[in-house]
Structures are given as C-alpha cells and as structure tokens.
C-alpha cells in the first residue's frame, strides 16, 4: 500500500503525459495545462521543507552553542527580515503598506519595493562575488592540478590552451599576420564546431538514452530509488 499508491500515481501520470505529446486536441491540451499548474503548486510546497530544515539547523546551533553559533543569528535575522519585508512590503510591486510608507516618509525607492533594494544591494553583489572567487581557485587549480601526465591529459590541456588564447583579443593579435584559416580565433571556432561538437553530440545522445531509460524505468516502477527504501 505504501508503495503501491505512489507507484501507481507515477505510472498513470507518466503514461498519460507521454501519450499527450502526440495529441494536439483541446481535451488533451487542457488536461496538460492543468497538470502543469499542479506541478507548480506542489513544487512550491517543497520550499517550505527547505526553509524549515534550515531554520531548525540554525536554532539547534544557537541552542547547543556549537562553534560559530553567533553567526547563526545573522542568518536567522536576515532571513526573517527579508521574508517579512518581501511578504508584507511586496516583491516587485509595492503593497499598500509600502505605498503608504513611501508617501508618508517621502522615501525615494528606485526599485519600487524594499525587497528589491535588499536584492540589488546585498544579494546581487554578494552572489557575484562568491562566484568570482572561483577565478582565484581556478588559477590555483590550474597551477597545481593541470599536469600533462598522459596522452589524454595532454589533449585536454592543449585544447584548453588554444581555446583560452583564441577567445580573447590578444590571441587574435598574435596570429593576425597568418592566413585566415590559421588565425587563432578561427582555429578555436573550428575546434568548437567540429571535434568538440562531435564529442558533445555523442555524450548528449548517451545522456539522453540514459535519461530516457531511467524515465521509463520510473514510470514502469522498476526504478524506485526516489521513493526511498522500506515498504
């Protein structure tokens, strides 16, 4: 029962969605629309799980005074403030409260809501900076890990070399005098368009087959890993 019901649900919806692909009739289309709406709603609920797990972890840290528990306050407070500001004050368009505040205190908000101000001046810069840290790590990884140990590694390294050089103006300058076919940016374009793409196609076809096989196994109830173990 605990297995049968979910497996049946997966089977029925899986099969119906496959058949739907080939039927353009309104009946099938309307059903399809409704299903997509359902998925949007159900997925939204998983976010509740994520948030509650996060909050629990940080509350635990604070309670047990684990190392760095003080920082958990930072997370909890910033989370609460942002969520409250967003829910009460509005996401993209201001709610009445925000409009009232803006008129009353003569605020100048370019982004329309307080949430967007937080987003623009806290989240955007921090997110981008986090990612840009990778530039430094990549340099150090290139220095330490990219060694021409064997033939395959040499092929990888050489291609990376040519691509890195050919995709910037300086690479174009180096080979400016050569005939067009031998100019670096054209070589890179060729590598990307032929050998690279050939391999990409091969890999993608493989991945596609693997995904299709797994999806079929899910629908047929052979692959049950996602339901967890147990009865």
């Amino acid at each position: 029962m605990r297995r049968k019901i979910p497996l049946t649900i997966a089977f029925v919806f899986g099969i119906v969605m496959i058949i739907q692909f080939f039927i353009p009739h309104p009946v099938s289309r309307d059903f399809y629309q409704t299903m997509l709406d359902w998925r949007i709603i159900v997925i939204a609920f998983t976010y509740i799980l994520a948030v509650s797990s996060l909050i629990r972890i940080h509350i635990n840290k604070v309670r047990r005074k684990k190392t760095g528990w003080g920082f958990s306050y930072v997370t909890l407070i910033s989370l609460t403030v942002t969520a409250v500001v967003g829910v009460i004050g509005g996401c993209f368009q201001p709610t009445q409260i925000t409009t009232w505040l803006i008129e009353h205190f003569n605020w100048q908000i370019e982004q329309r809501t307080v949430l967007m101000v937080i987003f623009t001046y806290i989240q955007i810069p921090m997110g981008a900076t986090m990612f840009s840290l990778l530039a430094f790590f990549i340099a150090s990884a290139a220095f330490r890990a990219f060694k021409a140990r064997n033939l395959t590694a040499i092929i990888l390294l050489l291609t990376a070399f040519v691509v890195m050089l050919g995709r910037v103006p300086i690479g174009e300058l180096i080979t400016k005098r050569l005939p067009e076919v031998l100019q670096l940016q054209n070589i890179v374009e060729w590598i990307l368009n032929y050998p690279n793409m050939a391999a990409q196609r091969g890999i993608l076809m493989g991945v596609g087959l693997g995904m299709m096989a797994t999806a079929l196994k899910i629908i047929l109830g052979i692959e049950r890993g996602y339901l967890g173990g147990g009865d």
Binding site: I43, F92, Q93, A128, M130, M164, R167, V168, Q200
Partner: protein, 288 residues
C-alpha cells in the same frame, strides 16, 4: 629542496595575488585591444534587427542569478538599448526566482537613457513564475494563463502593447539569458513544440555546451560570455544606436591579461612538476 620543488609548494595566496593584479591593472591602464565580431553574435544582432519596430516584440528571458550577472547583465543592457533605441518592443520574463530582480535592475539601469519608453507601451515585464518547463509550455498557449498581470500587478489585458500578443506566434524572437540549463528547456518546449525562434545569451562556461545546438539551428545565435557581450556592444555602437559606456568591452583587456597569466601558471606548474620529478629520480639514483 630544489627551486622547482619550492615553486610546487608555493603558497596559493601568491597565485591569488597575481590574478588580482592581472585583472586590476588593465582597468587602470587600458590596452584597447581590437575586438572582432564572430558569427553567432552577428546572427543574434541580425535576428533582433528583423524584429519589426512597434510590432511583435522581442521576448527576453532573464533566467540568471547574481552569480552570473557580470557576464549576462551587459548582454541585457545591450539588447534593451538596441530595442529601445530603435522602437522595437520588448517583453521580459523570469523563470528563475532571482531573475526577476535581474530584469528589474537591468530596466532601472537602461530606462533613464530613454525617457520616452513606457511600461505597457514599449515594454512589458511579466515577472517571475515558478515551474520553469510548465511556464514555458503554458506561454505557448496563452501568456495570460501564467501571467494574468505583469510584474507590477497590472492586468495584461489593460496594457496597450499586449493587445495582439497571446503566445509565441505573436513574438518575433526570443532571447534567453541564462548560465543554467534553462535555455535548453526553452528549446525543448518553446522551440520544439511551438517553433519559436530562440537565441541564447550565456556564460562563457555554458557556451561550449551550446555549440551543438547552435549548429542544429535550435538556437539561432549565441552571445557567449563577456566577449559575446563586447561584440554586441560593438555592433550596436557601430550602428549609432547608443553612446552608453561599454561595460563588456572595457573588461576584455583584463580578460586577455588574466588568460595569459593563467596560461603562464599552467606552464610553470608543468615545468615544476616534470623538473622536480626528474630531480627526484636523479637523487634516487645517486643515493641508491
């Protein structure tokens, strides 16, 4: 310990320092290296030129987060400037929760240059909806189904620009800006199901991955990374559409130098690796 072994054990913070310098110096002292326009970028530019002024709009998907914004923001700015300067209409949609913020930030940045451009008349910002694949598919039937209102809560039916816009048939071209796999979903659903013409603006990382789809025509063109954005800036500047500061173009000098530094690091790393290996062998021979 030989010299090369010392190099191998170099504190990585020196490497960090070198990279920081490589990026910083070209900013303060620009080299102004020339930029040549590649075909995928020209293709996008031509597609946007084909969008009829004051007719069916260009749909821009801002499906990226702050983490990839430095690469994709310049593309958004350039596309918006291109359209606004030539009276082409724009629709913006976000399928990434943070994408809505990115689109709004982009508009805030560009709109002051075009005081005559009005929301609902010349552009519509649809906002964000969760459920990427579902949203794309539903937009193929009726945009109002997923987006009854625009991001500012105004009903789409009351927007003059939306009068004749219902689904992909009324959209001239679609440009998805994303560093994730969202463009693939656009191709799989909007492209395969509804034959929407789609172009992609993506990070340099994902660019390599999208080349196969470029050749198949599933993407009509591509802006790849900062370089792609710089090429696009060059194209719209050449046409005289905008005099705005070319964010991506300035960055390309720094990019060149940083690449050279990394190539240099790989070479040094390999020399050190092989030198210390042969050195070790030699010491083994003499001691044994």
């Amino acid at each position: 310990m030989g010299f090369w072994e010392k190099v191998m054990r170099l504190d990585r913070r020196w490497v960090f320092f070198l990279i920081a310098l490589a990026v910083l110096i070209p900013f303060l002292k620009p080299l102004r290296l020339p930029i040549s326009v590649t075909k995928p970028v020209k293709d996008i530019f031509d597609e946007v030129e084909k969008v009829p002024p004051e007719g069916p709009p260009l749909l821009i998907g801002t499906d990226y987060a702050p983490s990839t914004a430095p690469e994709l923001d310049p593309m958004l700015y350039a596309l918006l400037r291109h359209c606004f300067a030539t009276k082409r209409r724009v629709m913006l949609v976000a399928l990434y929760p943070q994408g809505a913020g990115m689109a709004q930030a982009g508009l805030d940045n560009v709109l002051p240059e075009f005081p005559e451009v009005k929301s609902g008349m010349d552009y519509v910002f649809l906002g964000y909806q969760p459920g990427i694949g579902s949203v794309i598919l539903q937009m193929g039937e009726e945009i109002r189904r997923v987006f009854p209102t625009d991001a500012y809560g105004v009903s789409l039916d009351s927007l003059p620009m939306m009068e004749y816009i219902h689904n992909y048939d009324d959209i001239a071209f679609m440009m998805d800006l994303s560093g994730s796999s969202v463009p693939m979903l656009w191709v799989m659903y909007a492209g395969a199901r509804y034959e929407q013409r789609i172009g992609v603006g993506t990070t340099a990382v994902s660019a390599a991955q999208y080349y196969p789809f470029l050749n198949t025509g599933q993407f009509k063109g591509m802006l790849g990374g900062l370089k792609g954005a710089a090429e696009y800036e060059k194209l719209i500047k050449k046409k005289g559409y905008t005099e705005a500061r070319k964010v991506a173009t300035i960055g390309m000098d720094a990019q060149s130098i940083a690449h050279l530094v990394i190539l240099f690091l790989i070479i040094i790393g390999n020399i050190a690796f092989f030198a210390s290996k042969s050195h070790r062998k030699k010491t083994k021979l003499t001691s044994g």
